[in-house]
């Protein structure tokens, strides 16, 4: 029972963590809570559906329900969603940053979120979509622990993406520049870093990672127009839990929220799952508003 909660919690936590990385980075860099971030996950999932559909069917890989077309679609959708995020910034947020307050940006992002979601709902309808109708095969991991091969594959891919992101942030000049601009934009500019370029890169990375979270959610659950919006509260909770601006914090926060959600199901029933993130977040704000990794909160 407890072991099964861990398996489910860690897989969904990894997806929350992937989405929260982009949210916490743009939040730390631009100082605004982007309510449209969840829609990048939704758009990522649906874009992958379109690309995979265009490639056509292929044999599934081993015990998985999907084949190489979905992996190609994942890569394509990450690129496309990254461009979507950068475009949204260019059309809306960048102009508002010039003369508006941070909170004007939040209103605008709330509007953008509803518009992006409604546009998808118009195109695809409110009914759920699936990448495949095949039954996912499960594997026994230990006593009372089962996972589908899909879940394990998704978890593996998520870990690879997170590791790559961590290495990028800590080991490359680009990552150093991103952290520098987030810490102190003026000092970073003095050191010859172009903040506008860093902002663009942050949107691209955040959009791509959110798209991957959306595709993984689509593989393990289903695609619905509201999937990203429902992910938004867990994403915020993970970002606040880990400390705004902290990439490892977002990953750990995602894991904690995922496990807490999975643990709540036998206690309160699956229907209140979404409220768990809210309760954990409130508790964190009461006890330690700056987050586990002491980000820019409080």
């Amino acid at each position: 029972m407890i072991a099964q909660i861990l398996v489910d919690g860690i897989t969904s936590g990894a997806m929350i963590g992937l989405g929260a990385i982009g949210l916490t980075l743009t939040y730390g860099l631009l100082r605004f809570a982007n309510f449209a971030h969840g829609e990048f996950a939704t758009w990522g999932a649906y874009l992958a559906l379109l690309v995979a559909g265009a490639i056509g069917p292929a044999d599934p890989l081993g015990p998985l329900t999907f084949g190489w077309p979905l992996l190609a679609a994942l890569a394509a959708s990450m690129v496309l969603t990254a461009l979507l995020a950068a475009a949204l910034d260019g059309v809306l947020f960048r102009r508002l940053r010039r003369h508006g307050s941070a909170i004007t940006l939040v209103i605008a992002s709330f509007g953008a979120s509803l518009a992006l979601r409604s546009a998808l709902e118009f195109g695809f309808g409110p009914q759920p979509w699936y990448y495949t109708r095949d039954i996912a095969m499960t594997v026994r991991l230990g006593p009372g622990m089962r996972a589908t091969w899909d879940q394990l594959a998704v978890l593996g891919l998520a870990i690879v993406l997170m590791l790559a992101m961590h290495l990028l942030m800590t080991r490359t000049p680009l990552g150093r520049a991103m952290r520098a601009v987030s810490e102190n934009p003026d000092l970073a500019r003095l050191a010859g870093i172009d903040p506008a370029r860093i902002v663009r890169v942050t949107w691209l990375l955040g959009g791509a990672l959110a798209a991957s979270a959306g595709v993984f959610l689509g593989v393990t659950v289903q695609l619905r127009p509201s999937m990203g919006f429902e992910l938004l509260l867990p994403l915020f909770a993970a970002a606040i839990l880990g400390g705004i601006g902290s990439v490892p914090g977002a990953m750990l926060g995602g894991l904690i929220i995922g496990i807490a959600e999975a643990a709540s199901v036998p206690l309160a029933g699956a229907q209140y799952r979404a409220a768990v993130a809210f309760v954990v977040m409130l508790a964190m704000l009461l006890v330690r508003p700056s987050g586990l990794f002491g980000g820019r909160g409080g």
Binding site: I107, L114, S118, E121, F122, I240, Y272, A275, L285, G297
Partner: protein, 315 residues
């Protein structure tokens, strides 16, 4: 002709209930700079409280106290104010955008409770047969509509008058001072958290009242009425009308509700039957684009906030 007149009454009645909610949000955001993304949640609290207090007992849900409608509305304001007091006590001392996230979370949680606590709320089926004001007139549509409109107009006028008095008073000045420069206001001995909490609670009470009035005019509520799109509508009303200005809030509510109703009719007429269900989604896209356009091109809204200058300077 009388059909058109009763439609006009209905249109303005609904628009003015939105106006009251927008006035409440204007106190929170326009005067105090508090960012509430949970408008739908507070409206839901008010609506369900009023429904429990005034409706007849029914097997499907809790409540059924059959109190007079006026008591139901007072109860709705009290319930929304209580919810705001609890949430505000936790989050108002934190940075502004955390309030946005937590009010959003509260609204999502309230919607979940409305949907799932079946014995309390009737679950997805909601609560029906909520008594309407002036039910005795129901067989004469025009008189019924006019009486309802007069009632909601009186409530809106009262709320407007009270808010004008409040925001013009020293209390309102402190709120604006805190919004502009918290450190300077605090150095003058004003306790920021207490003033903010008061503004947040009063604003939420008005939003709860708006929810209660809508419940009472429609006679039926369900969790579907309190989705984030409601929050968004009220925000667009405030931004379009001009935040910081109570007249702007009312004007924005009328203008955006007109746009919303008109776009619904237009989409119904233009789209083929198969796309009707999806047409509702296009409406949200259109309103979202209007919001972005106003924010980018006319950030002050139709009527912006009046500049407050000391009479010693302006002479």
């Amino acid at each position: 002709m009388s059909g058109l007149a009763s439609y006009a009454c209905f249109f303005f009645t609904v628009a003015l209930t939105y106006g009251v909610a927008t006035l409440g949000l204007n106190l929170q955001w326009g005067s105090a700079g508090l960012f509430n993304v949970g408008v739908a949640g507070f409206a839901a609290v008010g609506a369900y409280a009023a429904a429990w207090l005034t409706a007849a007992p029914a097997a499907g849900h809790w409540g059924g106290f059959q109190l007079p409608i006026a008591l139901g509305w007072i109860g709705a304001m009290a319930a929304a104010a209580l919810a705001a007091a609890i949430l505000g006590a936790i989050t108002l001392r934190l940075r502004a955008d955390y309030l946005a996230i937590t009010t959003f979370g509260a609204a999502v949680t309230i919607e979940l409770v409305a949907l799932n606590a079946q014995t309390l709320t009737g679950g997805p089926f909601g609560i029906a047969f909520i008594p309407k004001p002036f039910e005795a007139l129901a067989d004469r549509p025009l008189a019924f509509g006019a009486a309802n409109l007069a009632l909601v107009a009186a409530v809106a006028a009262l709320a407007y008058w009270a808010l004008e008095r409040l925001t013009g008073s020293p209390w309102g000045r402190v709120l604006r001072a805190l919004r502009e420069d918290e450190a300077a206001a605090a150095s003058l001995g004003k306790a920021p958290d207490a003033f903010r909490l008061q503004a947040f609670v009063i604003g939420a009470a008005l939003i709860g009242l708006a929810g209660a009035m809508q419940a009472q005019f429609f006679g039926f509520i369900a969790p579907d009425n309190y989705l984030p799109v409601l929050t968004f509508q009220v925000w667009v009303m405030l931004v379009v009308g001009g935040s910081g200005n109570n007249r702007g809030a009312l004007l924005g509510a009328l203008a955006v509700w007109a746009l919303w109703s008109f776009s619904g009719t237009a989409l119904a007429a233009l789209l083929p039957g198969t796309l009707q269900a999806r047409g509702a989604a296009l409406r949200v896209v259109a309103i979202g684009v209007v919001l972005a356009g106003v924010l980018l091109l006319r950030p002050r809204g139709l009527i912006g906030e009046r500049a407050t200058v000391s009479r010693h300077i302006s002479g």
